[in-house]
Amino acid sequence: MKVAVASGKGGTGKTTVSLALAAAAETPCLLLDCDVEEPNCHLFTSAEPWRTEGVDVLVPEFLGEGCDGCGSCVRSCRFNALAGFGRKVMVFAEMCHACGGCVLACPHGALREIPYPIGRLEFRHAEGFELITGVMNVGYAMAPPLIRQLKTHLPTSGLAVLDCPPGTSCSMVTSVRDCDFVVLVTEPTPFGLHDLRLAVETLAELKLPCGVIVNRAEPGVPLIHDYCQEAGLPILLEIPLSRQIAETCSAGGGLLDACPDLKEPLQALLAQTLPGLLAGRSVAS
């Protein structure tokens, strides 16, 4: 089962929940940190990487020989990553989406593809689970290729938890795609509710099932509950608003350190609630 942990809004507790799920799991669990722009899961483990793997994309290199200045490569590029000056082509690698179109378009073999580093994957044996973190190089703009590379390490069976980037754009969609279930973490504020709606709208387009964890839940604040009832979304768990949890997590501690009582509900979520929801869904469809 591949469980994505996402949210529209940043800072709602995706990483906290992802780590707690991985730590609580009763079966072996792989945690992927897909928030490659600002990955944080590794800050909550003392494990050093046992392996690091560089991630490249393929960008064109102008070879010169054979170019007759026809301009096919420049015309084929929809990202303005190439500029032609007579029989010379300049490549702007940071604009390149690595689609390979220019190399295919060149009739003279005057371009070839070379690796361009965009980041790395770090592998750690964390306390009770395996962690793979994607780290995008600062200054590089496009996260999806790195997320796709990270996701090639997903096992074909067993439990995986994916800590996703905030928002609803291409990075988030690349992370949640092909997961079995998306856990949306939100908070009972107008920001939390608004961005939850956006995330639910996005997942509906992707036809992915989801449920909600209300973080910093307060008694007597029905904001999220009212919406979930109206939208027919299950509330999977509530994590109480607590200064103690905030302080523990600020210092690099886990949710279960501050709130050991949550271990059982998290285990039940993974072992019963989510499989139950997925089974119900496959019966319904």
């Binding site: 529209g8 809004k9 940043g10 800072g11 709602t12 990483t15 928030d35 722009e37 600002e38 944080n40 800050l43 909550f44 084929s76 929809r78 990202f79 989406h97 690595a98 689609c99 390979g100 179109g101 295919l104 378009a105 995008m136 600062v138 200054g139 590089y140 703009a141 496009m142 996260a143 999806p144 796709r148 980037p165 905030p166 928002g167 609803t168 754009s169 291409c170 990075s171 988030m172 969609v173 690349t174 795609r177 504020t189 107008p190 920001f191 608004h194 961005d195 956006l198 709208e201 996005t202 387009e205 992707l206 904001l223 200064r243 905030a246 302080e247 997590c249 600020s250 210092a251 690099g252």
Partner: protein, 303 residues
């Protein structure tokens, strides 16, 4: 006119709450919400939408099924896992995966795929009590968030110049990727919001590395500073070691959430701790060179 960006690396650090509070102090100003895929500033500033425009950027493939011969060349060439073949070999385009490169269309031997302009979102021009606000909504999973940010910043800048405003204030997106880069290039000053946590400091270091690459003037503000005083001290030490000024500290206060629930900002509560701390922050910021009013300089005449 000075363009000021509030940015953080980490989500949920308090960018939007701080931007909304500063907006009232910079008024009349022009506001722009650069967090185009999860925009929230409107929830605090209650803009009245005056105009809505489609945002069209890039292209998307459209299949002419009558021409498709089912050869699968498109799927083979696509680098974005954006094409999945039906059992009959016809391509289906995966929502949100296509980057619009056109390789499938350019190399289809049956010319069965055409590239058409793609609407990626919409943007609005609105009025708020602090001034004109330009905000947008990127469609779910859409590409080109950086281009949408660049487009609304350009409109906002033109508006600020036309109205003779002293400030253009931007609420930035989280992360360090394309919408952040598009928000950052060419601003006069970036205010980096962080929080005293291991994640806050980690993300601050990465955003600082990015901002330094753009040679933009910046300072740091520590939000929720009293949640973890030791970590706040670590952030201050880090900033000092990097010769970065801490512009201010803001204490954790329930007033932020309470006022948000009522749809206004903490500045509506004069004398409250958050209001006092933000006033002190503003006093400091407004003394900086980057905040001084400029006569019509060459940047403005160019625009």
């Amino acid at each position: 006119m000075k363009e000021i960006l509030v940015i953080s690396g980490k989500g949920g650090a308090g960018k939007t709450s701080l931007t909304a509070a500063l907006a009232g102090l910079m008024a009349p100003c022009v506001l722009v919400d650069c967090d185009v895929d999860a925009a929230d500033l409107h929830l605090l500033l209650q803009p009245k939408v005056q105009e809505t425009h489609p945002f069209i950027s890039g292209q998307e493939p459209v299949l002419d099924a009558s021409r498709c011969v089912g050869c699968g060349r498109c799927e083979e060439l696509c680098r974005f896992e954006a094409i999945r073949l039906s059992p009959a070999g016809q391509p289906g385009f995966v929502p949100g995966a296509c980057e619009g490169c056109g390789v499938c269309a350019d190399h289809c031997p049956a010319e069965a795929i055409a590239m058409t302009p793609r609407q990626c979102g919409e943007w609005h021009r609105s009025t708020t009590s602090a001034g004109t606000m330009i905000h947008a909504r990127l469609f779910p999973g859409a590409e080109n968030s950086g281009k949408l940010v660049a487009a609304i910043r350009k409109t906002a800048k033109e508006t600020a110049l036309a109205q003779g405003c002293d400030f253009l204030l931007s609420d930035g997106p989280p992360g360090i990727g394309c919408p952040v880069i598009a928000s950052l290039s060419g601003v006069d000053f970036a205010l980096l919001v962080t929080e005293p946590s291991v994640s806050g400091l980690h993300d601050l270091r990465r955003i600082i590395e990015l901002v330094r690459g753009f040679e933009v003037d910046f300072q740091v503000v520590i939000n929720k500073a009293d949640i973890h005083p030791a970590m706040t001290a670590d952030i201050e030490d880090f900033c000092q070691s990097q010769r970065i000024d801490v512009a201010g500290k803001i204490s954790y206060s329930r007033l932020f959430v309470e006022t948000l629930r009522r749809g206004h900002t903490v500045m509506a509560h004069p004398g409250s701790e958050p209001e006092q701390e933000i006033m002190a922050l503003w006093k400091h910021l407004s003394s900086l060179k980057a905040f001084q009013k400029t006569p019509n300089n060459d940047k403005e005449t160019k625009a």
